[in-house]
């Protein structure tokens, strides 16, 4: 068997092992690769940065599920740290049923770390069913969608919600989702109400949102773990996003090497077969 046949028939478990090593080793031997900030991420950062402190709140809709948590949770943590650092109040909610526990753990974790007080610095609304209905409903009246927070406290009894009625009182809404929630926020919040919207999505989905970014319908876009890493660099608090970049760099290089090797072996095999066919003829 020639080298190209052996290569093309390699057991895929060797490839799985290579990927596993490529993921794990950089966590123990960090490469410290610098992360350069791109325009879409800078746009979202600037939008959050422009919110005046102790004034109107940021609305953060944590719409991801456990499957996309590794990519999107670093974004949530970075945005929350940014908002709390700037004394910007945050309303946290979710449109995904599995997002309740994830949203709660994100906001409570960062709030505890940065000594933020529930009801004064942030409020957790919990989950609400539907997609179009609650997004449209928030534009009419927040209290129509969330009469009380996730723990049963009426919004009228929450200090930071005083005077916050609808999108007119929310300078920016950010959705973090591994499904089409960002589109829903653009269709049902941005267009009918003029609400400023930002989004964080998985790397695979990010390419779908460049038209919205280009048209100004999104203030900014975080794409995948790279987006989270860039945001962490901007807030000068490197965490899981930046840490994951070393592994991601190695894996991307490895996949490119595998593609090149596969093609080299394929063309070598094809050339050899053509030669044999000509000789037989």
């Amino acid at each position: 068997m020639s080298w190209y046949d052996k290569l093309l028939q390699v057991d895929r478990r060797w490839i799985f092992l290579a990927i596993g090593v490529a993921v794990v080793v950089p966590f123990f031997v960090p490469l410290g690769l610098p992360v350069i900030v791109t325009e879409p991420v800078q746009g979202l950062y600037d939008a959050v940065e422009s919110i005046p402190p102790n004034d109107k709140p940021l609305l953060l809709s944590i719409d991801y599920a456990p499957a996309t948590l590794p990519e999107l949770e670093p974004m949530a943590l970075a945005i929350l740290r940014h908002a709390f650092r700037n004394d910007v109040n945050v309303i946290v909610m979710t449109l995904h049923p599995a997002g309740y526990g994830l949203a709660e753990r994100a906001v409570r974790g960062v709030a505890e770390e940065m000594e933020q007080v529930e009801g004064e610095d942030y409020v957790f609304m919990g989950f609400t069913p539907g997609v179009s209905a609650p997004i449209l409903g928030l534009g009419v009246a927040i209290r129509n969608v969330f009469p009380e927070d996730a723990y049963g406290t009426p919004l009228d009894e929450i200090p930071m919600m005083e005077g916050i009625r609808n999108y007119d009182d929310i300078p920016l809404a950010i959705t973090l989702a591994g499904w089409s929630a960002a589109e829903a926020w653009i269709y049902f919040a941005r267009e009918p109400y003029g609400q400023q919207v930002g989004a964080g999505v998985t790397a695979v989905m990010a390419t779908d949102y460049y038209p919205y970014l280009d048209a100004g319908q999104l203030q900014g876009l975080l794409g995948g773990m790279r987006g989270a890493a860039e945001y962490e660099v901007l807030i000068e608090r490197e965490a899981k996003g930046v840490k994951g970049m070393d592994s991601q760099s190695v894996i991307h290089l490895l996949i490119i090497v595998l593609i090149v090797l596969g093609n080299v072996a394929y063309f070598a095999q094809r050339s050899a077969r053509r030669k044999m066919a000509l000789e037989d003829a």
Binding site: I19, A98, G101, A141, P211, G262
Partner: protein, 209 residues
């Protein structure tokens, strides 16, 4: 009547939701608010419907002694335990409650792991199937390699032209293609919505005409 009533309701609701956008009068907006609330209630019932459907499917598998009924037992046990913990265990779904611990320590790692398996299969598929057999496939391969490198810090390190090329690919050909697709999908959605509201498209009722 069985078909006329849903068609009539669909028509009234569809026309109202379109027309209300242009009528700021408070009476119309009040009806619109109620519609939004009803919509959320219907969504909530969809969860109940999904749960009942799931239980029915797996119950039948167990009852008919299907070959993979063991997995059905696992599904029903998981469903039952989480429902039980959520409703009856101390703390319900508060942080630190048994429900929350099961969610954070079992469901979250399992779902994240399942999704992470994709990375391994993608690498294997890229090695076996990504071939530059035609001009289009070659262009796709080159673009994919540039974007893969450009989206990680190592691309910035190799050359500043790589992230520049990545940005160009994402903001020019990708954007143009996506825009074309979105316009097509948008027009299709409008046409389908009109057909549903006007009762021309009736597949949603089941059974066709």
């Amino acid at each position: 009547m069985r078909r006329q009533l849903p068609l009539t309701l669909c028509f009234i609701a569809g026309v109202f939701m379109a027309v209300q956008y242009f009528i700021p009068h408070w009476r119309v907006q009040d009806v619109y608010d109620r519609f939004l609330t009803w919509l959320q209630i219907i969504f909530a019932f969809a969860f109940l419907l999904g749960t009942v459907s799931l239980v029915k499917v797996h119950y039948h598998k167990i009852r008919n002694r299907a070959a993979d009924r063991g997995f059905s037992w696992v599904v029903l046990a998981g469903l039952g335990s989480m429902i039980g913990l959520g409703f009856f265990a101390p703390g319900h779904n508060d942080p630190g409650s048994p429900f929350d611990m099961m969610f954070q320590n079992v469901q979250v790692p399992i779902e994240a792991t399942m999704f992470s398996l994709l990375a391994f299969y993608i690498a294997s598929a890229a090695f076996r199937a990504f071939r530059a057999r035609t001009l289009e496939a070659t262009l796709l391969l080159i673009a994919a390699c540039i974007v893969m490198l450009g989206r990680v810090p190592i691309g910035d390190l190799i050359s500043e032209r790589i992230p520049e090329a990545t940005r160009w690919i994402l903001t020019v050909p990708n954007l143009a293609a996506k825009r074309g697709i979105m316009i097509g999908v948008g027009l299709g959605m409008m046409a389908t919505a009109l057909k549903i509201v006007l009762g021309i498209e009736r597949a949603w009722m089941g059974g066709g005409d």
